[in-house]
Amino acid sequence: METNYLQKTTYSDSDTQTVQLLSNFIEGDVSAFSKLYDMYVNLLYNYGYRLTTDAELLKDCIQDVFIKIYNKRTELNTVINFKSYLLISLKNKLCDESRKRVNLSDVAVDELDILSSDNIEKDYIAIEKEKLDSIFVSKMLDQLSPRQRRAIVLYYIEEKKYEDICAIMEMNYQSVRNLIHRGIVKLRNCAA
C-alpha cells in the first residue's frame, strides 16, 4: 500500500496556460513573455524572500532570471517544468551572488552556508545539533512527543501563527491548540 507523506501536487489550468505561453514565447511572441512574468514574478519573490533578507539583491536576481530566459528562449524547449526551472534558476542566481559577495566581505558567510547546502540528510543532522545547543531546553523538549515538540517549536520559537501551524502540520485549529496546551502542561510538570 502506498503511503502519502506529503499531499501530491496536482496540475492546474495555469500549468496548461504556461505550456501554451511558453510555446508562443519560444516562437517570438513578446506578449507571452510579459504574461509569464506577470504569472510568476511573485512565485519567485515569495520563494526568494525565504532565502535572503536583501530585497534589492532579490529583485536583481529575479531580473537576471527573466533576462536569461528571454535571451535563451530557443533553449526552453528542453524545460520539463517551467515553475521548477524558474525556482532553481533563482536559487542558483542567489547562490552565485552570495558567493561573489563573500569574496568581497564576510558579511554573507552565514547566508552562503545556507545556500550551498546540497546533502539533505547531512544538513538535517547538523542543523538539528545546532538547534539543540541548549542542553536544558533540549532535554525538556525531549519529554514531548514529536508532534507536541514540533507544534511548540513552531509557536513559541518560530513565532508562527496558529493558522500557519495548522497548514504545516495538516491539523485543525482545535487539535493544534490542544497539542500545544498538552505540551505546555507536560513541560510544566517536568520542570516542577
Partner: protein
C-alpha cells in the same frame, strides 16, 4: 524585509530534487523522498512547510504592484523590448 524561515526548512527549499518533487514529481523522486520521510518522520512537518512555501500557500509574500511594474520595465529595457503588453 525579513526572512525568518527555519534553517531546516531552507535546507529543503534549496534542494533541486525537492523542488522537482513538489512541482513535477516523478516516480523516482517520490520513492526517494518517501524513503527519506520513512527514515526521518520528524522531518515531514518541515518538508510540508517547504512544500507550502514553494506552492505559495503559506504566508505568501508579494511585491507591491508598483514594484512589479518597475521591475518589469527594467527587464524589458535590458532585453530591448520597447512596449509593455
Amino acid at each position: 524585509m525579513s526572512a525568518v524561515t527555519d534553517k531546516r526548512v531552507i535546507s529543503i527549499l534549496v534542494n533541486d530534487e525537492f523542488i522537482n518533487y513538489v512541482m513535477n514529481p516523478t516516480i523516482s523522486l517520490i520513492e526517494k523522498w518517501e524513503d527519506l520521510f520513512r527514515m526521518h518522520p520528524e522531518q515531514i512537518p518541515i518538508a510540508n512547510e517547504a512544500r507550502l512555501i514553494l506552492l505559495s500557500r503559506l504566508n505568501k509574500k508579494t511585491l507591491p504592484h508598483h514594484e512589479v511594474l518597475e521591475l518589469k520595465a527594467r527587464i524589458f529595457e535590458k532585453c530591448g523590448i520597447s512596449s509593455l503588453n
